[in-house]
Symmetry: C2
Subunit: 217 residues, 2 copies
């Protein structure tokens, strides 16, 4: 929830939390999969106590949930739930585009352009992991341009939660190239100095993306 500040409480618990979060975001632990405290304790070489703390924190952040039966599971979303999350994300992304367009500094613009250049390079190389990282950085750089950490955090949180589902829409290298090209269209609108055009451009960009995600999930 915090950006960058002081080390959070507990080093083993924190290490476990961060590792699990990264693994879940990359799709390494599937939605619905159960996390076993005892096995995780063995895996990380600690007692159950810091494991429970890490799991509990991830649950408080909505990454895990107590589902049917025992144990924590990676939060699962039905298609309907996924669609609702995308709808919320859709609104937040449009808001971000509008605000970014209103507040854009030359420095922020330059950073967005650097991020887009990396997207293009990764797409041309047909390198999916690299593209996924670059794509996230591209969108995060737009959120940063708003210069409000709370808005940044909301948008970044959606990215974190939907990451595993969104990754599935890229079937081949052509998809990467098309995605990177759609960024160009989007940036034209964000840089147009018309915040309504920016918001509408982001709506279209995200709608196209979500339709592909729903098809792939």
């Amino acid at each position: 929830m915090d950006g960058s500040e002081k080390p959070p409480r507990g080093s083993a618990a924190h290490r476990v939390e961060a590792a699990l979060l990264e693994e879940i975001a990359a799709g390494g632990i599937a939605a619905g999969e159960r996390l076993d405290e005892t096995r995780l304790a063995e895996r990380f070489g600690v007692s159950r106590t810091p494991i429970r703390e890490a799991l509990s924190r991830l649950a408080a952040q909505g990454v895990l949930e107590s589902g049917e039966g025992r144990g924590m599971r990676v939060a699962q979303y039905s298609r309907e739930e996924l669609a609702q999350m995308f709808e919320a994300m859709h609104e937040i992304e449009a808001l971000c585009a509008r605000l970014a367009s209103q507040r854009l500094t030359l420095l922020a613009r330059s950073q967005i352009e650097v991020a887009q250049a990396e997207c293009k390079a990764a797409a041309e190389a047909g390198d999916l992991p690299r593209y996924l990282r670059a794509n996230e950085e591209f969108h995060l750089s737009i959120y940063r341009a708003i210069e409000n950490p709370y808005i940044f955090e909301i948008a970044a949180d959606f990215r974190r939660r939907t990451g595993p589902f969104r990754a599935k829409k890229f079937a081949d290298a052509g998809d990467l190239v098309a995605s990177a090209e759609s960024h160009d269209d989007l940036l034209e609108k964000i840089f147009s100095a018309n915040s309504n055009i920016a918001a509408e451009g982001m709506r279209q960009h995200m709608a196209a993306s979500f339709l592909r995600v729903l098809a792939a999930n």
Copy 2:
């Protein structure tokens, strides 16, 4: 983080979490104040373990933070940070009003009206704790009308975090009455079936509120 679903993990830990959250939101524990595990354990009649779990979860939600020195403290915000949070909340609230206006069912409208009636009754009784609860419920009922749990959660989260600061704007019973009356104006706009008027109405309502909050903090 969740609205209403299954009982969250842990009954003592959960009870403590909920009680602390309510107390913090009502301003009963001040921003920056340190929470002592041992004393809380005595107070709630449990061991440190569930206390630690509750505190850890509240930290994951941004309500508490590990600050300078030992222990968890209620999260503190500078005026600048508070203003940024309000700016973000302002945008989210306007978005909520717009969507609620677009999606309002008769049932949802009725529930909002019940909540507003309770606000008025509490204001007329000059009962601050009752008013604070009623005011929260009023706003939550608007978010519920959107029927998207993710948007609900974002807006509710801001309410949770800003609760202690917002509570300080009510200096006397007249403030309660004025606040309840401003809800009438707001509802007229939300019920107007014009989502732009609804959004603008909420912007004004929240801006007035934030200016009073900044003055009081």
